[in-house]
Subunit: 310 residues, 2 copies
C-alpha cells in the first residue's frame, strides 16, 4: 500500500529540497522549432504530429527538471486540444514523469455531479477493481478539482484519496485577473473563497498524513498575496498548490507566507516561465535554458521558505 | 456562415416540436449485454473494447432518439474514463449526431484561466485558422462551462460564440443535492447563483439571435423549481439547459416556468432516464425502450410548455 499522498509529497519536498512544481503547458506554437519539424516530418495527421511534438518536448523537459522539481503538473487542456493522440501524449507525460521519480498532479480542474465525478476520478486516479479499468503508471498522483458542485461532486475524489492514496487540490482562490469576480464576493462578512476554504478543511480533516498535512489540498494563487496569507491561517494543515509565479507576474518572495518553519506546506508552480524559458522557438540549447530556469526557481523558493520561517 | 447557435437551437425546437436533449452518459455497466459482448469479442484491449461498446451503443441511441430530440449532450467524463479510445468514441458520437441532424452540446464543464480556456475552446468548438487545428463535424455546437474563474476564463469561449457561431451554457444553479452549499450562499441579499446569472446576462448581452435569445445560455437544474422560476425572471433572454428530470427526480411539469409563450427558452435534458430506459442490460428490444422513452418525454415537455404559456 502506498503512503498517503500528503506524506509522499512531504518526502519529495524534503529529499529534493524543492517546493517546485513544473507545469507542463505544451502550447504548440512555443515548442522548439526542431521538435515540431521532426514530428511533422514523421506524421501526416496534424493532430498526431502535434501530439508527437508534445511527447518529445515533454520527455526532454521532464529529464531536465527532474533533479530540481518535486512534481510536474501537466495541464490537460493543451493535450485535449489534439484529440485522442493528445490524450495519449498526456498519458505518456504521466508515465515518463513517474519513471523520472516525479510526482504528477493532473491539472484537470474537473467538477460535476456525483456519478460523473466518479467517472472523472476513475479516468485520472485509477478505477475501482473493475476488470475494465486497468491500473498502472499512467494515473496521476493527484488532480485539481473545481468546488462549484459542493460536497457530492467532491466525494468520489475523496474516495480515491482514501482508497488509492491519491491527492486533491481544490480550487479556492485562483491566480487570474478576474478570479475575484466570484471568488471574492462577500458572504456573511467573508469572501466566498474563505467559505470554500472551510469546506476544503472539512473534506480533508480525516485525511491527514503523518507529516501533519492533509492529502486534500488547495489551489491558492500567488498573485493575491494578502488572500494567500489569510488563507494560510484558515487552512493550517492544507497543502497549497500555488500558481501565478513567473509568466503570471508573482515572484518567489510573494509566496513566503505559505511555508511552515520546516519549509513544508506549499508547492509552487511555474509553467511557461520554465518550459519556455528559452524564449524563441529557434533558440539553440533550449534544454539548458529549461534546466537552469528550474534550478533557479527551486533555489529562490528555498530562500523564500527559509526567510519566511519564524 | 452558420446562423448563431441561439437561432439554430430555436429552429431545431420548432421543427421537431421538441425541447428534449438526450444526455449520452454511457456508463459501461449499464450498456446492453449484447453490445458489450460483441465489443469484447472483437477487441483485446479493455479500453478499446469499452470504447467500441460505447460507440455501438451511441450509434443506436442516436438513431432511435433523433426524431424526438433537438440535441444530444454527450457527457465527456464517461468517454475520458477510457483514455484515448474513449475520446475517439466521444468524437464519433458528435459526428454521428450531426449526421442524424441533431445539435450537439458537449457536456465538458471546463473552466480555467484564459490561455488554458482557449485551448479547451479550440479542443471542443474548433480552433482559429491554425493549420494544426482542422475543422469538421467532430466539434460540438455548444459546450457547458464553469464560471468559477470569472470573465477571463469565459472570454475564449465567447470568442468562439462570436466567430464560429458556437453556443455556451454556463453553470448557474446545478441539479445535485449539495449544489446549494456554494451556489446558494447569500451575497448582498441574493444567493450566489443570482450573481452568476447576472454575469451570464452580461456575457451574452451582445450575442442575441433573431429568436430573441442569446447564444450564451445557462445550466439551471430542474430539481430546484423555486430557483428556476426566479432565474427565469433574472435571465429573460437566456436559453436554459435544464438537467435533473428523470433519474435525478424532477418531472416535466417542474420545468414549465422555464418556457416562454412560444415554447422556446428551455432545453430539458434527460440522460439515464432515456438511454437506460430498458432497465436491465439483458432486456430484449432495448432500442424500442429508448425510443419510446424519448418520445414520451418529448410529449410531456410539449404539454408542460403549453400549460405554462400565459
Amino acid at each position: 500500500m502506498k503512503l498517503p499522498f500528503a506524506d509522499r509529497l512531504a518526502s519529495a519536498v524534503r529529499s529534493k529540497q524543492s517546493s517546485l512544481v513544473v507545469g507542463l503547458d505544451p502550447q504548440i506554437a512555443k515548442l522548439p522549432e526542431e521538435v515540431r519539424a521532426h514530428a511533422a516530418s514523421t506524421h501526416d495527421d496534424p493532430r498526431e504530429a502535434a501530439a508527437a511534438a508534445i511527447e518529445a518536448f515533454d520527455a526532454a523537459v521532464i529529464e531536465e527538471v527532474a533533479p530540481f522539481a518535486a512534481a510536474v503538473k501537466p495541464q490537460i487542456a493543451y493535450y485535449e486540444q489534439w484529440g485522442p493522440p493528445g490524450l495519449a501524449a498526456f498519458e505518456h507525460a504521466v508515465v515518463r514523469a513517474h519513471e523520472a521519480g516525479l510526482l504528477v498532479i493532473g491539472d484537470i480542474k474537473r467538477g460535476d455531479i456525483g456519478p460523473t465525478a466518479e467517472a472523472y476520478a476513475s479516468a485520472h486516479l485509477g478505477g475501482a477493481s473493475d476488470e475494465l479499468t486497468p491500473g498502472g503508471g499512467r494515473y496521476a498522483d493527484a488532480v485539481t478539482v473545481n468546488p462549484y458542485f459542493g460536497t457530492d461532486g467532491i466525494q468520489p475524489f475523496l474516495h480515491a484519496v482514501r482508497d488509492r492514496a491519491a491527492g486533491l487540490f481544490v480550487l479556492v482562490r485562483t491566480s487570474n485577473a478576474s478570479a475575484g469576480e466570484l471568488q471574492d464576493l462577500p458572504v456573511r462578512g467573508q469572501p466566498l473563497h474563505e467559505h470554500v476554504a472551510s469546506r476544503v478543511v472539512a473534506w480533508g480533516h480525516d485525511l491527514r498524513g503523518t507529516c501533519g498535512y492533509s492529502s486534500v489540498g488547495a489551489v491558492v494563487g500567488a498573485t493575491a498575496p494578502r488572500e494567500l496569507a489569510r488563507l494560510r491561517e484558515c487552512m493550517p494543515h492544507t497543502w497549497f498548490l500555488i500558481p501565478g509565479v513567473g509568466a503570471q507576474g508573482a515572484t518567489a518572495a510573494d509566496v513566503g507566507p505559505a511555508f511552515d518553519r520546516d519549509g513544508l506546506g506549499a508547492l509552487v508552480n511555474s509553467s511557461r516561465g520554465i518550459i519556455f524559458a528559452y524564449g524563441s522557438p529557434t533558440a539553440p540549447d533550449w534544454r539548458r535554458s529549461v534546466r537552469e530556469a528550474a534550478r533557479r526557481l527551486r533555489d529562490e523558493l528555498r530562500t523564500a521558505a527559509l526567510q519566511a520561517a519564524p
